[in-house]
């Protein structure tokens, strides 16, 4: 494997191009005024293509063992030696491939999807910036640069979620996304500063090397802060509230956020810093718990949704939950595996959902859809591939190999049966909601008018590739217990990203069977459920408790947002209103006015006189001093 197909010694001088090509693309789109609108799409596509090709060249040249490039000194003050530097290892390379290539497919799809839409130029600028931010985050060799990419993504999510800015709720959704994730950013930033305090370095490699000698308390604090950052960015319970609302943006944006960039960043962060997390297994276990719980919670919520994009949003939260469960038990490479698989089917489903919504004339409600299979065969098959991959249909879909391995891995941790139980239950429900969505949209009779929509190659090609990925990507890494077939990914990642030994013997076989059974049963339940819902007009989507996702969002409004605003108001009224302006300023003014009245002059003249006196005084002083000179 390590033999290079082509030797490109230049490659480690070109690392900077991976994140910077899309960033420069965004800059070009902003700076070049007056081009025809299509040209901006072309620039954006080319920029990401450059990144994607660079990543491909890294694969071809076999340079995945830590090429490092330092572009320039960013800030150097004492021990704060901060460079703009990039680094690639095997883990980075897989992650960068997912982001760059899936990002490229989404860009390609967008050129047709967004044509004659609204604000195309702005859209492509942010889209490029977004991919650039993610690649910067992935390839950064120090914490501050990593944080820079992380923040750029936050900004882009804000701008793109509120892309259709003429509606207040869209603007609010964008704001909610930015602010909620910023909670995590703040934690991450404090964690980074603590890292600097402890290690007097910002470089990832040197921190990892020094970590074992550091006090455990400090490492635990840093890990907890990083964990909070990851939870917010990756929409884990209870910081997931922004993601369902983030569906206000174009569907392609959702595809980008969920598959190629932002949401997966939290997973990457913990995997990247796993050296620290390995030192504090107790903290790490909480990652697993929150992940497993979120996986179940979000799949419960997904069942109650009628909006096609909200179903997909909750499905992402749930799938990312599995990845966190894997991280929490030390199965880092398993999380990465599932991340790549998830990227394929989720990008596919979001982009398809955009087309579906256009076909049903911008109605998101799956209860008003139906019967699309006959009209759009290609779309139907692609979406079926995605839905089955989401449901993890055994043997033929990729996520069967990635997700079931995660469930098995959680079993090995403390309270493993509990964690695995949450995961299995979630897997069952995933089958239900995933296939309910598919059946409601594509089968039966059309419940509202179906518009014509012709997809060009620029849309079909990305969907086709992603559908293939959703089905076949799993075959690169069959379960360990199977003696046949390829086991390519995990052993190759082993030097940089470890995993845990999966349970063997009866427990292992049992979990494998249970995982497969959960998916199949879920899919089987979905069919009668959908039929009943179509017949009666009422179904799971009418259950308020599920539809409102257990009222967590409303609870947050009451318990967090309102008290916070009230606190701001109270502080302001007390400190500024009452103490400073009320007592101090008003008191002084009264004194002054009284004094003025004593002199029996108008109050308006007071200040002018005061200033005049001051000017005179100053002149006198200067004059005196000058004379002395």
């Amino acid at each position: 494997m390590t033999d290079a197909l082509v030797t490109l010694p230049m490659m480690h001088h070109l690392l900077w191009l991976i994140p910077c090509a899309p960033l420069l693309g965004a800059l070009l789109i902003i700076a070049l005024d007056g081009l025809p609108t299509r040209a901006y799409g072309v620039i954006a596509n080319l920029a990401v293509l450059v990144s994607a090709l660079c990543v491909a060249l890294l694969w071809l040249s076999g340079s995945w063992d830590m090429p490092v490039q330092t572009a320039y000194e960013w800030m150097h003050i004492d021990n704060w030696l901060l460079d703009v530097g990039f680094r690639v290892d095997r883990f980075t390379l897989v992650m960068a491939s997912v982001s760059a290539w899936v990002g490229l497919l989404i860009h390609l799809f967008s050129t047709q999807y967004m044509r004659h839409d609204f604000g195309e130029r702005r859209y492509f600028a942010y889209l490029n910036l977004f991919v650039g931010g993610m690649l910067l985050f992935i390839t950064a060799d120090n914490l501050i640069l990593l944080y820079a990419g992380w923040e750029i993504m936050g900004l882009c999510s804000y701008a793109l979620v509120s892309h259709y800015y003429t509606k207040d709720e869209n603007v609010y959704a964008g704001r909610k996304a930015f602010v909620t994730t910023r909670i995590g950013d703040t934690a991450l930033a404090i964690g980074i500063f603590l890292c600097f305090m402890q290690f007097q370095s910002l470089n990832l490699e040197s921190i990892f090397q020094a970590a074992p000698q550091a006090p455990t308390g400090m490492i635990a604090a840093i890990c907890i802060l990083f964990m909070l950052g990851a939870f917010a960015k990756s929409a884990q319970f209870p910081l997931h509230v922004w993601l369902p609302d983030a569906m206000a943006g174009p569907s392609t944006v959702s595809a980008l956020i969920h598959a190629a960039t932002m949401i997966t960043a939290g997973v990457y962060l913990i995997a990247r810093t796993h050296v620290l997390f390995d030192l504090v297994p107790d903290v790490r276990w909480w990652v697993a718990l929150v992940g497993a719980f979120t996986a179940l919670y979000a799949s419960v919520s997904a069942i109650g949704q009628n909006d096609i994009k909200r179903i997909l949003a909750y499905s992402t939260i749930s799938q990312i939950g599995y990845m966190f469960a894997a991280l929490g038990v030390g199965g880092y490479s398993l999380a990465l595996f599932h991340l790549a698989v998830h990227a394929c089917f989720k990008a596919l489903m979001f982009m398809s959902s955009g087309v579906i919504i256009e076909i049903y004339h911008h109605d998101h409600d799956i209860r008003n859809m139906g019967g699309l299979h006959k009209q759009q065969k290609f779309l139907s098959f692609a979406y079926l591939a995605g839905s089955l991959a989401l449901a993890a249909l055994p043997l033929v879909t990729a996520s069967f190999y990635s997700k079931d391995a995660i469930i098995a891995a959680t079993y090995t941790a403390d309270h493993g049966a509990f964690l695995a139980g949450l995961g299995l239950l979630g897997a069952l429900l995933t089958g239900v909601y995933s296939m309910r969505m598919y059946f409601m949209v594509f089968t039966g009779k059309a419940r509202s008018e179906i518009h014509d929509y012709k997809m060009t190659w620029a849309m079909k090609l990305p969907l086709g590739i992603l559908a293939l990925g959703s089905l076949c990507l799993g075959f690169i890494q069959l379960p360990d217990s199977w003696s046949f077939g390829p086991h390519l990914l995990l052993p190759w990642l082993e030097p940089v990203l470890t995993s845990v030994a999966l349970p063997e013997g009866h427990a292992g076989e049992m979990l494998e069977l249970l995982g497969a059974a959960a998916a199949v049963i879920g899919i089987l339940i979905a069919w009668p459920l959908t039929k009943a819902e179509v017949r009666s007009g009422r179904g799971v989507g009418n259950i308020g408790f599920l539809n409102k996702a257990l009222y967590i969002d409303d609870l947050a409004k009451v318990l967090v947002i309102r008290p916070f605003l009230a606190l701001c108001a109270v502080l302001g009224s007390v400190i500024d209103g009452l103490l400073l302006n009320g007592v101090l300023v008003a008191g002084v003014r009264r004194l002054m006015l009284n004094a003025a009245e004593v002199v029996s002059r108008g109050q308006g003249a007071l200040v002018s006189r005061y200033v005049l006196l001051m000017v005179l005084g100053l002149m006198l002083i200067i004059g005196y001093l000058t004379v002395q000179l």
């Binding site: 320039y72 000194e73 960013w74 800030m75 150097h76 003050i77 004492d78 704060w80 702005r122 501050i144 944080y147 820079a148 923040e151 750029i152 900004l155 804000y158 509120s162 800015y165 003429t166 509606k167 207040d168 603007v171 609010y172 704001r175 930015f178 602010v179 910023r182 950013d185 703040t186 930033a189 404090i190 980074i192 500063f193 603590l194 600097f196 305090m197 605003l565 606190l567 701001c568 108001a569 502080l571 302001g572 400190i575 500024d576 103490l579 400073l580 101090l584 300023v585 002084v588 002054m592 200040v607 005061y610 200033v611 001051m614 000017v615 100053l618 002083i621 200067i622 001093l625 000179l629």
Partner: protein, 494 residues
């Protein structure tokens, strides 16, 4: 040379005042030319990287020297002041009337600022300080909202009181130093050779006087009470100078005259100073969130960001102090950008109260993009100037005190809340029916003003090392006062 850069604007002010009594447009052009020239000279000096100095006896009886020394830090802040004056002029080009009066006042203020950044003698510093402040009062009172006179009055009263306290503190310092060493002098260069020893009542009083005197200008929490009203009511062009350039003078004064001149008492106060900075930062941000108008948000945001500089100042640590210098520049640029946006909206008869705006982006996408850029800079987006400052400050502050550093870091969250809120309320959402339909997007003059700021923010953000090197020598010199060696663990409150 040093005298030239200080007095050139002042002389020009006198000439314009006398020469252009009735000719406002001529006065405007001349003022712009003078400020541009002044800024270019200062910029050239800053690039040269040399420290300029000049020392002469002035009033020997009282140990007052005519001692000027303009180092990298002072130069950087002076260039900022000049640049902001240019921006202030460009965005007030049509809106401000009576340029024959406004121009000279602006020039005099600028003169005062350059002078005080160069002053190396306490009395000289005080003279320039007053020179900077008095024109500001007239600019605040005579231009701005119709009811700006009241806030200007308040500004003046507060400022005069603070200046007085500062003067008393300076004189006490003169006496205390004389008693301690036998040398009675106001010369900063001599004073810092033999800093005041001991944490006595007298030194505490001096410190308190300086803190109040300079703190009002910053404005440090809780001395900020005059600022929101003044920032909101004054003409945005004036406020660009007041909040972007002049506020720096307060921090600069604290930086120069507290720790180096009386390290022990300041070190003992440092933990409290950090606490004040951190709390003030959060308090300012929390108030910005609840404002209902653009200028109110910017005002509180400015207060919040200046208090981070106070956090850095009292952390007295390498990263924090370098970060502070960057923060002063970055804050000046970004707050000027925001007030420039407010000015442009005012030119379009929009006062920025939420009820009267909304959905402006549809008509003015370019202005909207610039607005978003400044908001994003303000919230500390990496790659832009403010991030460089804030990251260094917070890293340094956390190294000194985990508690107050972390408290200050919460501003990362709060700033984004008010930032995107104000942007959304003004530019996005459905078009407000009260907004007239014929608003024009940026014209070339406005583009020029905003481009200057945007480029400066980008350059400092992407290559902060340039600025770090400019301010490194003076900062290193300040850091020679090592807080760690004083009082063992006084600063360790966490």
């Amino acid at each position: 040379m040093l005298n030239l850069v200080i007095y050139f604007p002042l002389l020009a002010a006198a000439a314009i005042w006398l020469g252009c009594r009735e000719r406002g447009t001529l006065a405007r052009s001349l003022t712009l030319a003078v400020i541009c020239l002044e800024t270019l000279i200062l910029f050239g000096l800053a690039m040269g990287g040399n420290t300029l100095s000049l020392d002469a006896e002035w009033i020997a009886d009282y140990g007052i020297h005519y001692h000027l020394q303009l180092d990298g830090l002072g130069l950087a802040l002076s260039v900022l002041s000049g640049g902001l004056a240019v921006v202030a002029m460009l965005v007030g080009w049509e809106r401000i009337d009576r340029w024959q009066a406004f121009g000279p006042l602006l020039l005099a203020t600028l003169s005062g600022m350059v002078g005080l950044f160069a002053a190396y003698d306490l009395i000289l510093f005080y003279v320039f300080w007053e020179l900077m402040l008095i024109p500001m009062y007239f600019m605040l009172a005579m231009w701005g909202d119709p009811d700006s006179r009241r806030s200007a009055t308040q500004f003046m009263l507060v400022t005069v009181t603070a200046s007085l306290l500062m003067l008393v503190a300076i004189i006490l310092l003169f006496i205390a130093h004389g008693v301690q060493t036998g040398i009675y002098t106001f010369d900063y260069g001599i004073l810092k050779q033999t800093p005041l020893i001991g944490n006595t009542l007298l030194s505490k009083l001096i410190l308190a006087g300086l803190l109040l005197g300079f703190g009002v200008k910053v404005p440090v929490f809780p001395l900020h009470f005059w600022a929101p009203l003044a920032y909101r009511k004054g003409d945005p062009s004036v406020i660009i100078m007041l909040s972007g350039a002049m506020a720096n003078a307060g921090v600069y004064g604290l930086l120069r005259f507290t720790m180096p001149l009386m390290p022990e008492v300041t070190a003992a106060f440092a933990p409290w100073g950090m606490a004040i900075g951190a709390i003030g930062t959060l308090y300012g941000a929390a108030q910005a969130i609840r404002q209902e108008d653009l200028r109110g948000v910017i005002a509180w945001s400015s207060i919040s960001h200046m208090n981070i500089a106070i956090l850095a100042l009292f952390a007295w640590q390498a990263q924090a102090l370098h970060g502070m210098a960057l923060q002063l520049l970055a804050h000046g640029l970004s707050v000027a950008g925001l007030f420039a946006i407010a000015a442009l909206l005012l030119d379009r008869k929009r006062d920025g109260v939420y009820a009267n705006v909304g959905g402006l982006y549809a008509q003015m996408p370019k202005l909207g993009m610039c607005f978003l850029f400044f908001v994003v800079a303000t919230v500390g987006m990496p790659g832009l100037a403010n991030f460089a400052g804030e990251a260094l400050i917070l890293a340094g502050a956390i190294s000194r005190s985990i508690l107050w550093g972390s408290v200050g870091a919460v501003t990362i969250l709060l700033s984004v809340i008010y930032g995107v809120k104000v942007y959304g309320k003004v530019m996005l959402g459905p078009v407000n029916p009260r907004v007239p339909t014929e608003l024009w997007d940026l014209n070339s003059r406005e583009k020029a003003a905003l481009t200057v700021l945007i480029i400066a923010i980008l350059v400092i953000g992407l290559m902060p090392q340039l600025m770090i090197e400019t301010v490194h020598l003076p900062t290193a010199e300040l850091l020679a006062v090592n807080i760690d060696s004083l009082f063992g663990g006084v600063h360790a409150i966490d």
